[in-house]
């Protein structure tokens, strides 16, 4: 792919460790990825695979202690978010990077009305007056599809339904026109119809506002519906990364393939999801020296026990730009991949 513009976000060699009383937990191990302008990057993986910790590490949202970012660079434009001061980082959060969390029921502050909560980042980052912020807050609520927006500014979060609250969260995250929006399982806590509405909304806003989005989910069905590119995480590492079509057409990693077998239909029940893969995801108490998936992998062989596989491109394109996988057994042909 010739002459691509510089990515909005470029993460290299990120390593995050929790220091707990029971020892260290290596939640993110040497994670590298980038995000193109206007792109929607899906991130999938089981519970505990390090999706949230990775994304929260980017903008310093993890409580420290216990979290400690050991290595890496996070380039947002020209700035390395891991090097800048706490104050500079606060100027990035909510302004250039917006974040939406999983549980809309608890993510809004119960004692402030939503008008205030939307106005906060506007006043802080854009220097708006109260009146300007209120006006913009109404626009934002309209943008995310809340009826009667002007009247609802004074309402408190408990006066909104779950789906409406998530819309308010989206309005907050979008308030300052961020370059990057990180959505951490924003629909997991919502029921299926509401989930579909939120997905529609995000698709629409993407076109309207042109920001790049990182979308974390358990649900490959959601990925298929909205993502341009997918990253599969396991044991705090990226085990496979590819444009969404390639991943579905030609899955390489045994874990990805197991995941794909677990999706029902795109609109079907979400319950059965990932539990179908036998065994438990590992808790990484040390940096990996073997494949993290080996205990559950049907293709494991002796090398997997002693050598943590590195990501390697399987389509001849530079690593990270095309389809790559971290597995000693891969690459396999498309026909074999679906066997």
């Amino acid at each position: 792919m010739p002459d691509r513009a510089a990515p909005v976000l470029d993460v290299r060699g990120l390593k995050t460790v929790f220091r707990t009383r029971g020892g260290e937990i290596h939640a993110v191990n040497d994670v590298s990825f980038h995000l193109e302008r206007g792109e929607l990057l899906g991130v999938v993986g089981e519970s505990g695979s390090g999706k949230s910790v990775t994304m929260m590490s980017l903008i310093g949202l993890l409580p420290s202690p216990p979290a400690e970012i050991r290595a890496g660079t996070v380039m947002l434009g020209e700035q390395d978010l891991l090097k800048i001061s706490a104050d500079q980082l606060r100027a990035v959060r909510g302004a250039r990077v917006g974040f939406i969390f999983q549980d809309p029921m608890t993510s809004l502050n119960p004692v402030f009305n939503v008008g205030f909560q939307i106005a906060e980042p506007l006043r802080r980052h854009m220097g708006m007056t109260k009146a300007q912020a209120a006006k913009r807050a109404v626009e934002l609520l309209e943008l995310v599809g809340i009826p009667d927006a002007a009247k609802r500014l004074g309402d408190y979060p408990h006066q909104f339904s779950g789906g409406m609250r998530q819309r308010v969260m989206i309005a907050i995250a979008l308030a300052c026109d961020p370059d990057v929006l990180i959505a951490d399982e924003p629909t997991t806590a919502l029921d299926v119809t509401i989930q579909a509405q939120i997905l529609e909304l995000v698709k629409e806003l993407r076109v309207k506002l042109g920001m790049a989005i990182i979308w974390i989910t358990h649900d490959l069905g959601v990925i298929a519906a909205i993502a341009d590119r997918v990253m599969v995480m396991y044991g705090g590492q990226i085990v496979e990364q590819a444009p969404v079509k390639d991943l579905f057409a030609n899955p390489q990693h045994p874990y990805t393939r197991a995941l794909l077998k677990t999706i029902p239909s795109l609109t079907g029940a979400r319950e059965a999801r990932l539990q179908v893969i036998e065994g438990q995801p590992p808790i990484m108490t040390a940096a990996p020296t073997a494949c993290a998936f080996r205990a559950r992998c049907g293709h494991a062989f002796d090398r997997c026990e002693v050598d943590n596989p590195k990501r390697h491109a399987i389509d001849g394109v530079a690593l990270g730009q095309g389809h790559d996988v971290a597995c000693h057994w891969a690459p396999v042909t498309a026909e074999a991949a679906h066997a």
Partner: protein, 335 residues
């Protein structure tokens, strides 16, 4: 909210009636006679006359009904007459202390200012030092500051005021000689030096009670802050780029204050309860001292009236706490 308040007020009426009856009967059961302080040389006929004059020979229910009438009609009417020069009370008998023959409410009126200045100040000081300690301890959990705060709270919690008060007297009055040992009730604050003297004589009781109150409230504040600090909305506030000051002192504190304000309001009646020991220890001639004196003298009307006033305060501040809770927490709807 208004209907809720009115409903609660109406509900308080039967509650208070029952409480008043229980108090009346319990106090009446207590052994002792109003004559116990009268010299033994006084002949029995005279004693009998004195008892009759007090109305103490009447059956308890008769005295109860009379007391009710006096408490709820004569006393408010007298107060009203005093303000507007009317004659609603019509010279009816007020509640009289058996000990001093003076109206109970006159005595209370004289004692309350002493209690409020000393004990009220102690409570206020306690709250004012407890809140910042609690907030900072939570923000820097397990720091040296937090550990010291915990130690301080343990001491305040577990050492009774009669002990800490005595210790404070020994240290600051006896050994260091900074403050007077005895509280001078008659001191009138008219100028700067007398004001300073008032401050000095208040220092020790305020320290004693303030320490105890601060210990309790700072713990509440700390644990409430800790509960809220890990909430999702705090992460949202950080993700919006809010400064730590705004995150902690606005988002977290506003939520954490809800239970703490309730605790503070509920604690206010205990100002008067706590006064009993401290006032006696430091010789503050307030409401607590009046109660102890009345108990010693079997001055039943005084004891009954004071006990009932405490009950009214407790019921009132319970209501205030509920209303405050509703005002602070938009999720609470009372109707």
């Amino acid at each position: 909210m208004l209907t809720f308040t009115l409903r609660r007020l109406l509900l308080a009426i039967p509650t208070l009636f029952v409480i008043s009856l229980v108090i009346f009967l319990l106090v009446d059961l207590a052994p002792g006679s109003p004559m116990s302080e009268i010299p033994l040389t006084v002949p029995p006929e005279v004693r009998k006359k004195m008892i009759e004059a007090l109305g103490a020979d009447q059956p308890v229910m008769v005295r109860y009904v009379l007391w009710l009438r006096q408490f709820f009609w004569v006393e408010p009417a007298t107060l009203f007459d005093g303000w507007f020069g009317t004659n609603l009370a019509g010279g009816e008998q007020r509640i009289l202390s058996w000990q001093s023959r003076a109206p109970v409410f006159t005595i209370i009126g004289q004692r309350i200012p002493q209690t409020l200045t000393v004990i009220g100040t102690a409570y206020l000081v306690g709250v004012l030092i407890a809140l910042p300690i609690g907030i900072y301890s939570a923000y820097r959990q397990y720091s040296l500051f937090d550990q010291l705060g915990t130690l301080f709270a343990m001491i305040g919690f577990s050492v009774p005021t009669f002990f800490s008060g005595t210790l404070i007297i020994i240290i600051f009055a006896v050994t260091l000689g900074w403050f007077p040992t005895k509280y001078d009730t008659n001191l009138a604050v008219t100028d700067w030096p007398s004001f300073l003297q008032q401050l000095r004589q208040m220092a020790m009781p305020v320290m004693t009670l303030g320490l105890a109150n601060a210990a309790v409230i700072s713990r509440y504040m700390r644990s409430s802050m800790l509960d809220n600090m890990t909430m999702d909305y705090v992460r949202t506030a950080r993700a919006k780029g809010m400064s730590e000051r705004v995150v902690v002192l606005k988002h977290v504190l506003r939520n954490s204050m809800i239970p703490v304000v309730t605790v503070i309001a509920l604690g206010i009646p205990s100002i008067f309860g706590g006064a009993i020991i401290t006032e006696n220890l430091f010789g503050v001639n307030g409401i607590g001292a009046a109660l102890i004196g009345a108990i010693h003298a079997s001055d039943l009307p005084m004891v009954q009236t004071l006990a009932f006033i405490f009950a009214v305060l407790i019921v009132t501040f319970n209501l205030i706490a509920d209303v405050l809770y509703g005002l602070l927490d938009p999720r609470i709807r009372y109707d």
